[in-house]
């Protein structure tokens, strides 16, 4: 198959049919097929090497395949960054059947990669699912796609139908004893379903509420009470490459602790926002935001105010963290997370109170309501930030916000008790009084913004900027 002609109508490197994806220079382990216009068809996929990794896997023992993946140190791409090969090892022995659930419920604000992987290269994902099922003896696979992604559902449905027809999925795959069905399942709009136990609840036909822990991993008790592996779409999309080229070649990219590449979505106030495949560990935030191969700096020559390093749940970073490399371990040590590979850049024109409110509102709306600290706390955080923004804030509101945060995610931040230094000692990963990390995530934007831009909040409170209070007399029940 000839190399695709990449059209750059605007000289920016965007590929017209893969919205947002930028064909920058660098290794392409999971996005290699994106530039082909018909990359989602079986024909194009086969002509460009699809199912080669599966065939390589089928020529080896399942245990061998598992070892290869463990040796590659494939870190989970959903947010927590847990090594997939290790997670796979948590299945209890001799408990059958085991299931695979694919987490395609991408909805963390700022994150845009799994949708591209499903729309642009469904066969790569299907191949990854098959490799995982083969290695671990998983008897059935459920591909959970976010409900709002209509095109991804269509592309995956057709890809599955074609792959069944061609003998890659279903009974006696590639004429071996390996047989597994992949069931395409779709959600219906709920962020919390991205949490793996909530995903399983949803798949069982229930409200998507996280399950009480322990057990911490569904590998012990998962779907229908059976051992279940839950992996993110991007994690599985890496498997065909690893099986085709081997763990050693995979470790040739990225750093020692975080091998391979990752898809990063950089959005907000940059010159060239987009989805980039980037070597982990060796690339820095500065490269990504300012580099000519990547986002080419802040729009209109503006100054950087803050950036979110790994999705809306992540504590914010500022200029002094620009030189950190995209390495989960280092970013964790610096008090935030690489999360889902979502970087949101804010320039100096950004209204921090507004941005903070918007993120908190997201968590308030998406709280499933199971744990009271989160259910009550997030909506109070939202109300308080709203009144500050509207000019009705009270001087005590900032401490009140932190006090509510303390109830959801205990920390030393209430200034009254600990002084302003408390904010600098916010623990990461956050402590939680809730079952899942959604509630604690709502505290991150508040502590981040207050730590750096407290004066902007105070200005809103003391100057009463915002909507004026109506004091006109009421006539006939309507304000005059």
């Amino acid at each position: 198959m000839p190399e695709p002609t990449i059209v750059h109508p605007d000289g920016m490197g965007y590929i017209p049919h893969a919205a947002g994806f930028v064909a920058n220079e660098g290794p392409k382990l999971v996005s290699g097929r994106f530039p082909y216009e018909d990359s989602y068809t079986l024909e194009c996929a086969l002509a460009t090497g699809a199912y080669t990794g599966l065939r390589a896997a089928l020529g080896r023992t399942p245990a061998d395949v598992h070892t290869e993946v463990r040796d590659a140190t494939l870190l989970g791409r959903g947010g927590a960054g847990f090594p997939a090969g290790v997670k796979w090892g948590f299945c209890p022995e001799d408990v059958w059947p085991r299931y695979l659930v694919v987490n395609g419920d991408e909805s963390e604000p700022g994150t845009y990669k799994d949708r591209l992987l499903m729309e642009r290269d469904p066969h790569q994902l299907i191949e990854g699912c098959l490799i995982a099922c083969y290695a671990l003896g998983l008897s059935q696979c459920f591909l959970y796609v976010r409900g709002e992604m209509a095109l991804a559902q269509e592309r995956l449905a057709v890809a599955l139908n074609d792959a069944y027809e061609a003998g890659y999925v279903g009974r006696n795959i590639c004429d071996t004893d390996f047989s597994v069905d992949i069931t395409l399942h779709w959600g219906a709009g709920a962020y919390i379903v991205g949490e793996e136990t909530a995903l399983i609840e949803s798949l069982e036909g229930n409200r998507g509420m996280p399950r009480l822990k322990p057990p911490y991993f569904p590998a012990a008790i998962g779907l229908y009470g059976r051992p279940t592996i839950v992996n993110n779409v991007e994690t599985l999309a890496n498997l065909p490459w690893i099986l085709e080229h081997g763990a050693i070649a995979y470790r040739g990219y990225g750093s020692e602790a975080s091998p391979g590449t990752r898809l990063f979505a950089v959005s907000g106030h940059v010159v060239r926002p987009g989805v980039y495949e980037v070597e982990q560990g060796v690339t820095t935030y500065r490269d990504l935001i300012y580099g000519p191969n990547f986002c080419r700096g802040i729009r209109e020559g503006n100054e950087l105010k803050a950036f979110i390093p790994g999705g809306a749940s992540a504590p914010w970073f500022f200029e002094e963290q620009l030189d950190l490399s995209l390495e989960a371990r280092d970013i964790g040590a610096a008090g935030s997370m690489l999360g889902s590979g979502a970087i949101v850049v804010m320039d100096h024109t950004t209204d921090v109170v507004k941005a903070c409110l918007r993120i908190v509102r997201f968590f308030a709306r998406e709280s499933c309501g199971k744990c009271s600290p989160c259910r009550e706390g997030t909506s109070w955080e939202e109300k308080i930030l709203e009144r500050i923004l509207d000019g009705h804030g009270r001087p005590s509101d900032l401490d009140l916000l932190l006090d509510i945060g303390d109830n959801i995610s205990p920390g030393p931040y209430p200034v009254a008790a600990h002084g302003a230094a408390g904010l600098d000692a916010v623990p990461f990963p956050p402590l939680q009084t809730t079952i899942c990390p959604l509630g604690p995530s709502s505290v991150a934007p508040i502590t981040s913004a207050l730590r750096r831009f407290r004066s902007e909040f105070e200005a809103r409170i003391t100057r009463h900027e915002g909507i004026p209070v109506r004091s006109a007399p009421v006539v006939d029940g309507d304000p005059a």
């Binding site: 409900g147 047989s179 709009g189 997201f362």
Partner: protein, 219 residues
């Protein structure tokens, strides 16, 4: 009288057969019901309950947790405008304001002619393409008020607006409720079969019969 049409009843049976337990099909069947009527009716929930071994209340309990299900009629076209952080930074709130003004309806409401329902929604995973909106879950990227007006003009004139930027264009923007127009279909002769959790007797056959040699790549 059954709720599902004959064709949809066949689809429903096929969907249920893909899961070890019918209850898992509740969400897909709610989508199917919404595809048929544009929203989820009481009759639909009663029938889904029968098909999946749940009670109608359990079906409502599950369905009402998820944003996409509507339990009252909505417009033919549901316009979702994202105002979450990436879109907010690039004008998502202003875009929503324009949508509300031009259609003369607040977010959450439906226009008097039943054509459009407007919603302010959370992140739809198009962050690098902000600001964006979707119409019946078809994406319009890097949108501005002019994009939106052109889409509305198209829809009012009976044309498909998809060529204006939404991906997956086949020249037809379906009415609200229809998500994927192409469905999964497992041919009988290729089916591996569902594996219910009760089938706990032994490990899958390929774990015992797989080649015992080591890596072909190592050789």
């Amino acid at each position: 009288m059954s709720f599902f049409t004959e064709a949809n009843a066949r689809t429903a049976a096929e969907v249920i057969a893909r899961y070890p337990r019918p209850r898992s099909a509740v969400i897909p069947l709610l989508h199917l019901a919404q595809e048929q009527e544009g929203w989820v009716t009481r009759d639909a929930m009663v029938e889904i309950a029968e098909l999946t071994g749940a009670t109608p209340a359990e079906v409502l309990g599950t369905g009402s947790f998820y944003e996409m299900f509507r339990f009252h009629p909505v417009g033919r076209y549901v316009v979702n405008v994202c105002t979450n952080i990436s879109c907010q930074l690039l004008g998502g709130e202003e875009l929503l304001h324009h949508v509300e003004e031009s259609l003369e309806v607040h977010a959450g409401g439906t226009t008097a002619d039943g054509m459009f329902t407007v919603e302010e929604v959370e992140c739809v995973a198009a962050c690098t393409e902000a600001p964006c909106f979707t119409v019946n879950y078809r994406y319009f990227h890097r949108a501005d008020p002019d994009t939106f007006d052109a889409v509305v003009d198209d829809l009012r004139a009976g044309r498909s607006p998809l060529a204006r930027g939404a991906q997956g264009d086949d020249g037809n923007l379906p009415a609200h409720g229809t998500l994927g127009r192409l469905r999964q279909h497992i041919p009988d002769d290729r089916r591996a079969g569902v594996v219910p959790p009760e089938q706990a007797d032994q490990e899958p056959v390929w774990l015992r019969t797989a080649p015992s040699t080591t890596s072909a790549a190592d050789a």
